[in-house]
Amino acid sequence: MPDHFAALDQPRRPWLDADALKECFHRASASLHPDVPGTGDAARFAEASAAYSALRDPVGRLRHLLELEAPEMLGRASEIPPDFTDLFMRLAELRQSLNAFQKKEGAATQGLARALLIGERQLMLARVMALKSDLDSSYEASMVALQALDAEWEPRAADSIERLAAVQQRFAYLSKWRTQLGESLFKLQ
């Protein structure tokens, strides 16, 4: 198991500043990239690059932190957090109607037939935007929770790992859903 935190000289904790992390990766690349005469080192560049892609987003970073600190927490079956049920249901329903709409739109080859669908398309777009904004708020709230967890990371409380696993799980759902909704939005626009 590689330690991605160590590879980029980062403290092993839940919160890392995104800009500082990028800066660190860029400085490491400037000396380690295999193209750099003298200091280039393919193996160490690969480590730094893998570390950056693992740590840059909270979901990957928290998963890796759990891998290092409490690997037994990762395999556990997880259920959707209760306060996410509503988001999940809305997303599932929206994606279903989007699929149906896109099938209908795909079948409409004539200009007139497509024009008849524009109203529905606007409606779809509005629904996607509304859900996106709610997902974004949840994401922001999880970022706040993550920072709170980070503030109490050392000395570590008894429930820190439990909380870490819970926040990781929230990020896992939110990232997946944001990606899915982002793709839907991309197709609609």
Binding site: K22, E23, H26, S29, A30, H33, P34, D35, V36, P37, A42, F45, A46, S49, A50, Y52, S53, K103, G106, G182, F186, Q189
Partner: protein, 584 residues
């Protein structure tokens, strides 16, 4: 460290450069020209002509004059329209070849003739032998196209130290005098045959590509062809190209042009008239195709247009006002036109050559792989191993294990592309993994997929027991049987509905594969308790599933599965009753 030159091997024009006292400099040929048309003419006898003299022969002797050969490099017959003035040969699915007179050439060979000319020009200008080079390719080139470009360099006697993406090279040229800055830039590169959009972050000498997208079959050539098709003058098509292209160029600055064609037809003098508005009507559908790729690249970089600090234009076709206004609309700002669109890529290739030779310091390029790399899974889906836009060089490991006891080998198909169904992606090739005899799940071989800094794939297999590593030869996809390729081509004709129905079929087939053996097993266990009529119904339903499978009809298969499911309801009930009885 010996000198390395930078080469832009373009669809329309090619250039070569070298570092001189810390600056990239493009080298001129004996006539003082830096731009070499990527055209090769084969006269009746003697050496082929390259560049300007060859381009002049294009209208006079089209059958012996090869242009835009970059469209065919690394391509198979059937993938690319053969709408060029010279004949192409080769069986469907085999590499495209060019026939000139009674000889056949590969696109690599034609390209190598152009590269030899550039190499000789550079040797003359620098008064030294040239043996090492960096060559640029469209960012969206796949593995086969990159390998073929590298092979062209080697045929020309060059050691190809790196394949660099054209938009990334252009970003280097733009950013070389801004090494203290931090900025996010978009490079919009519309050339003669290809289109690329790349989003980069510049940070004090580090050039990190965040995302790239494009279309290797979209460019100014398409606009030329559309203009030729729209031109109704009584002149053969192959003669039209020269004047429609001249008109297109002039309309970048003029509103309307009139081009007299004194020699066009006997006794009659014709005039070709075109206005900018007419040109734009013809060009718009082609230019519009870049929009989707720009949005995709931005979305992949997780950026909004407002996050970009600068848009750089590259490629001759970006001189067209219509292109510039589309860029401004899609990317949200007026593009920066400080770079010479014909020269930026070659300058960037030269800078990358300087980085590799040590002549340029404090600059490093972190490029990405444009296409996802994956393998075909059981069930015909694509399993992504290295996602698109991953920073290269990159390695990713995958563990393979025997699916049945005593299995000796496993065939792995490697793919590049973004489609879910494996066969919709570009097949890079396949290789066979050898297992030692062991019970199911016990023979294990680790495979490492590596994409190097040139975007080229290498595969390494490692036996987990012995630790022995060996380089795996991925047999090129162009070696696959004609039959398989013809089938693929046939299917690609129905492309429009294929993604959906392909998926439906794959899913339905997985269901059938599960259902049919289950039905057989259930009949064996409790079939005797059914009436003869029930048995006949099930047999008929199962036969229909088999028939739909054989016919490859997705919706028929789905219906047949459902009917079989229905017909076996009573079987299921009997099985449950039997199980309950056994338990009690």
């Amino acid at each position: 460290m010996s000198l390395i030159v930078g080469i832009d091997l373009g669809t329309t024009n090619s250039l070569i450069g070298a570092m001189d006292a810390g600056f990239p400099v493009l080298l001129a040929d004996a006539d003082g020209e830096r731009l070499t048309p990527s055209v090769v003419h084969f006269p009746e006898s003697g050496e082929p002509l390259v560049g300007r003299p060859a381009a002049r022969m294009r209208a006079l002797d089209p059958a012996h004059t090869v242009y835009s050969v970059k469209r065919f490099i690394g391509r198979r017959v059937g993938e690319e329209a053969d709408d060029v003035g010279y004949p192409l040969t080769g069986a469907p699915g085999t590499p495209v070849r060019v026939r000139v007179g009674d000889r056949e050439y590969s696109p690599e060979e034609i390209s190598s003739i152009i590269l030899r000319k550039l190499r000789a020009d550079a040797a003359r200008a620098l008064e030294t032998e040239i043996v090492r080079a960096v060559i640029t390719v469209p960012a969206y080139f796949n593995d086969a196209q990159r390998q073929a470009t590298k092979a062209a360099g080697e045929l020309a006697g060059l050691s190809v130290e790196r394949i660099v993406n054209e938009p990334t090279a252009a970003a280097l040229a733009y950013g070389l005098d801004k090494l203290r800055d931090r900025a996010r830039i978009g490079v919009f590169d519309l050339g003669g045959g290809t289109f690329d959009i790349s989003i980069l972050e510049l940070n004090q000498g580090v050039f990190q590509v965040l995302s790239t997208n494009g279309n290797t079959r979209l460019g100014g050539d398409d606009i030329d062809a559309a203009l030729v098709a729209a031109c109704t003058l009584p002149v053969p098509d192959w003669q039209k190209r020269d004047f429609v292209v001249a008109a297109k160029h002039r309309l970048s600055t003029e509103e309307a042009v009139e081009i007299p064609l004194p020699f066009a037809s006997a006794g009659e003098s014709l005039i070709y008239r075109l206005t900018r508005a007419e040109l734009e009507t013809v060009a718009r559908p082609i230019v519009e195709k870049t929009r989707w790729h720009c949005r995709r690249a931005l979305a992949d970089a997780k950026l909004e247009p407002a996050d970009l600090d600068e848009i750089i234009l590259v490629g001759g076709q970006t001189r067209m006002p219509l292109v510039r206004s589309l860029v401004a609309e899609v990317l949200g700002r007026e593009p920066n036109t400080s770079q010479n669109p014909d020269e930026a890529v070659a300058l960037g290739a030269t800078i990358q050559a300087g980085i590799l030779s040590g002549a340029v310091q404090n600059v490093v390029l972190l490029d990405v792989t444009p296409l996802s790399l994956g393998i075909e899974t059981f069930g015909g889906l694509m399993n992504v191993i290295i996602p698109r836009n991953s920073t290269i060089p990159i390695k990713a490991g995958e563990m393979f294990t025997n699916a049945v006891s005593g299995q000796q080998a496993m065939l792995i198909k490697v793919l590049q592309g973004e489609r879910e169904i494996a066969k919709d992606n570009w097949p890079l090739g396949e290789f066979s993994l050898d297992f030692e005899r062991a019970p199911k799940g016990h023979a294990r071989v680790g495979v490492q997929f590596e994409i190097d800094a040139s975007g080229i794939l290498h595969v390494l297999a490692r036996d987990t027991k012995t630790g022995a590593e060996k380089v795996v030869q991925v047999s090129s996809a162009v070696d696959v049987s004609d039959e398989a390729v013809e089938k693929m081509l046939e299917e690609s004709l129905e492309h429009a509905f294929e993604d959906m129905s392909g998926r439906v079929f794959t899913e339905a087939k997985l269901k059938s594969d599960e259902l049919l053996p289950a039905v057989r097993a259930a009949l064996g266990r409790v079939g005797s308790q059914l009436t003869a009529e029930e048995q006949a119904q099930i047999t008929a339903a199962a036969a229909e599933v088999e028939a739909a499978l054989a016919a490859g009809e997705p919706h028929r298969l789905k219906r047949a599965n459902a009917a079989l499911d229905d017909a076996t309801q009573r079987l299921a009930t009997l099985l449950i009753e039997q199980a309950m009885a056994a338990k009690g």
